[in-house]
Symmetry: C2
C-alpha cells in the first residue's frame, strides 16, 4: 500500500557507524546562528543568550508500538518523529532551535531505507527551521527505533507551563480533534484488506484529511505567532498527544483547578464525523481519547476572549472551575459526566 | 550470577505511564541552579548564561547489543548509561549539568526492576552533580532500551574539539586501557560456565578491577580539574569509547595531522596483562580496540610537557606528525605499523 519500494539495497555494514552518520547527514544545513558546532564531535556546542531560557524535550518512537511500517512510509516517519518533538517545544511557548536524532535499526533496513527516513527528518528540520546537531546510530536486534531530543528557546520568563491556569480561565483548543486517530483506523482497515487481497487498490480519497493527519502531522508553530499578534499570552498550555481528556486532566492537576468541557464545542472535521458514523464510533469519545492530534490546548483570561473569538484557528471549548468542582464533560443533553484519562494506548488496547 | 534477585513483582500496568515516571523520579533532587523546571511539563526549562556555551550529547543503549542483563545488574546499568553520556561532555572540556532519560521496557520487567535501574541513574546523577530534567517511558515489544541526552556548560570559547591538534603536539591518555574489555571477557566466560553448572560460584577476585571497569565505569571529571590546576589546555580531546586506535584516527582526521603512537607507552593495568596472557590475547590489540574505557585522550603543546610529566593520571603515548606521514603504531621492536580503526563491535564479531 504505502510501502517504500526500493530498487537498490545497500547493506549498512558497507559504511560502518561513522560512515553512516556522515552519509545520512552530509546535506543537512546549519540554519540557527546559535549552533556553534553540530554533528562531528563528542557533543554539539550551542551559544547561550542571557535574555533567553532553553527548552528541552525528548521522545522515543518504537516500531510495533508507535508506528507500523506496513503503512507508514519511512520519509513520513522521519518527518513525524521530528514534528512530535517540536510540538512539545511550541507547547512551552518556545521556538525550537536544534534536535538530536538517535536511531537503532536491524540489518533488514538497507541504507536506502535510512536515506528515506533522514530525508523526512531533513524536510521537517527545514520546515521548522531547526538544526540537526547530533545523534547516535546503532544496530538493533529487532525493529526500528527513533529517539529525538529537541531544544528550543524562549524569552526569559515567557515559558508557559501546565500549571498556570486559574479558575474562570477559558479553555481553548487549536484546529480540530480526532482526525489522526480515525486516519489510523482507516489505515488499519486497509492493511487487513491488503492481507486478504494484495491486489486491491484502496480508495483513500474520502479519508484524505484523516490519513494526512495520521501520516504527516504538523506542529502548530503558526499559533505562537498568531497569539503574539493577538496580544494574548496563555496562562497554561500543553500539546495534545494523548487525547483531549488526558491533556485537560494534566492542566487541571498541575494548576489545581477543575474544568467544565462542553461536548457541543469540541471542533470536529466533517470527515471525522462521517467516518465515525461509518465505523460506528462516538466522535466525542474519539476527540477525547484518540490522541496524536498535535494541536495546542491552552487557557486564557476571560478578558482576552474578545481578542480570539472570531479566529477560525481557535475554539473555546470550556472554562476552568474551582478545584473542588472537579473535571467534567457537559454533554449535548446537559448531563455532567466526569472526565477520565483514556489515552491513545488505552483506547487501542480496548478497541 | 549478578542477576538482580527480586522478591516482589509489581506490574508496570498498575501505575500507567504518568504514574510510572512520577514514581521513578519522585526522590530526584534538583541540584543545578540553572534548572528552572525539571520533570513534569511538556519540556524542561533551563536558564542561560551568556558567558557560557551549552553542550549536548546523546547515546542509545540496547539490550542484546550494548549490555547483557544476565551479568549486568540493573542498578549498574543505570549508573553506566549516565556515565557514558557524561564522558562525552567532559571530552568537550565542559561540566555536565542536566540529563534526560528515556526508557522502553517490555512487560517482563516489574516496577521493582525499573526502581533498581533508576536508583543507578540517581546515584550517577548525584556523583556527577547533574539533574534529571525529563524523559519518556514507553513499552517495548522486546527488551530494555535506554536513551540519554546530556547537557553541559563550558565558558564561551573554552570547548575543546577533536579538530585542534597540531603537528608535534603530544598525545596524552588518562588512566589505563583495555580493562573494561577484559572484564567483559571474564563475565562472558563465567556466563558460559553458569549455563553448564548453575551452582558454580565464580571467583572474580583476581579480576576485580576488570569487572569493575566493565560494570561500573566512571567518567574522568577529575581530569578537567587537574588540567585546570596544571594550567594546561588540551588542543584537541575525545573520550575513549570505541578503543584507542579509533579515537586517535578521529583526532587525526578532524585535525588533519598524522600520529606516531608508541606501543611501549600504552598504560596497562597488571590485571589486563595477566588476563590477556590467560586468554592468549595480545594486550596491545586489546588496548587499541577493546573500547569502553571512558578515559580521555587529548593532545597538548610540547611546551606543556613539563607541567604534566610527573602526573600519575597522565601518560604521554605519542606525538602528532604531518598529515602526509600517516598514522602509525611504533612497536616495541621499532617497527612502524599503520593504525586502523577496529572498534569494540568489530573486535567482538571477530573474536
Amino acid at each position: 500500500m504505502f510501502e517504500n519500494k526500493e530498487n537498490s539495497n545497500t547493506s549498512i555494514e558497507n559504511l560502518g557507524e561513522f560512515g553512516l552518520i556522515d552519509h545520512l547527514t552530509k546535506n543537512f544545513k546549519i540554519k540557527q546562528k546559535s549552533t556553534v558546532k553540530g554533528i562531528g564531535d563528542d557533543a554539539a556546542v550551542i551559544s547561550c543568550d542571557a535574555k533567553k531560557e532553553l527548552i528541552v524535550s525528548t521522545d522515543l518512537l518504537l516500531e510495533g508500538v508507535h508506528f507500523d511500517l506496513s503503512y507508514m512510509p519511512l520519509k513520513h516517519l522521519g518527518y513525524k518523529a521530528v514534528v512530535v518533538n517540536l510540538s512539545d517545544i511550541y507547547a512551552m511557548n518556545a521556538q525550537p532551535t536544534q534536535i538530536t536524532v538517535s536511531i537503532a535499526v536491524s540489518n533488514r533496513f538497507p541504507i536506502e531505507a535510512l536515506e528515506e527516513l533522514y530525508a523526512g527528518i531533513e524536510a521537517a528540520a527545514k520546515t521548522y527551521n531547526v538544526d540537526v546537531v547530533g545523534g547516535d546510530t546503532t544496530s538493533s536486534t529487532t525493529g526500528l527505533l527513533i529517539s529525538i531530543t529537541a531544544l528550543g528557546a524562549v524569552n526569559k520568563g515567557e515559558a508557559v507551563y501546565r500549571s498556570g491556569a486559574n479558575e474562570n480561565d477559558l479553555l481553548v483548543v487549536t484546529g480540530d480533534l480526532g482526525a489522526a486517530y480515525m486516519g489510523l483506523q482507516i489505515l488499519e482497515r486497509e492493511k487487513e484488506v491488503f492481507k486478504v487481497n494484495p491486489n486491491s487498490q484502496p480508495d483513500l480519497e474520502p479519508y484524505s484529511y484523516l490519513v494526512e493527519r495520521q501520516l504527516k502531522p504538523e506542529a502548530r508553530k503558526d499559533i505562537l505567532k498568531l497569539l503574539e499578534e493577538l496580544e494574548v499570552k496563555p496562562t497554561a498550555m500543553i500539546d495534545i498527544s494523548d487525547g483531549l481528556s488526558s491533556e485537560i486532566l494534566h492542566i487541571c492537576k498541575s494548576s489545581n483547578v477543575g474544568c467544565n468541557l462542553f461536548e457541543d464545542k469540541i471542533p470536529l472535521d466533517p470527515q471525522v464525523i462521517s467516518t465515525c458514523e461509518e465505523f460506528n464510533l462516538d466522535s466525542t469519545t474519539i476527540a477525547l481519547s484518540g490522541g496524536e492530534d498535535y494541536e495546542l490546548l491552552f487557557t486564557i483570561k476571560t478578558e482576552d476572549y474578545p481578542k480570539i473569538k472570531a479566529n477560525p484557528h481557535l475554539t473555546v471549548i470550556g472554562h476552568m472551575t474551582h478545584e473542588k468542582e472537579g473535571m467534567h464533560l457537559i454533554s449535548r443533553a446537559g448531563t455532567k459526566i466526569p472526565l477520565v484519562a483514556r489515552g491513545w494506548n488505552a483506547l487501542k488496547s480496548n478497541g
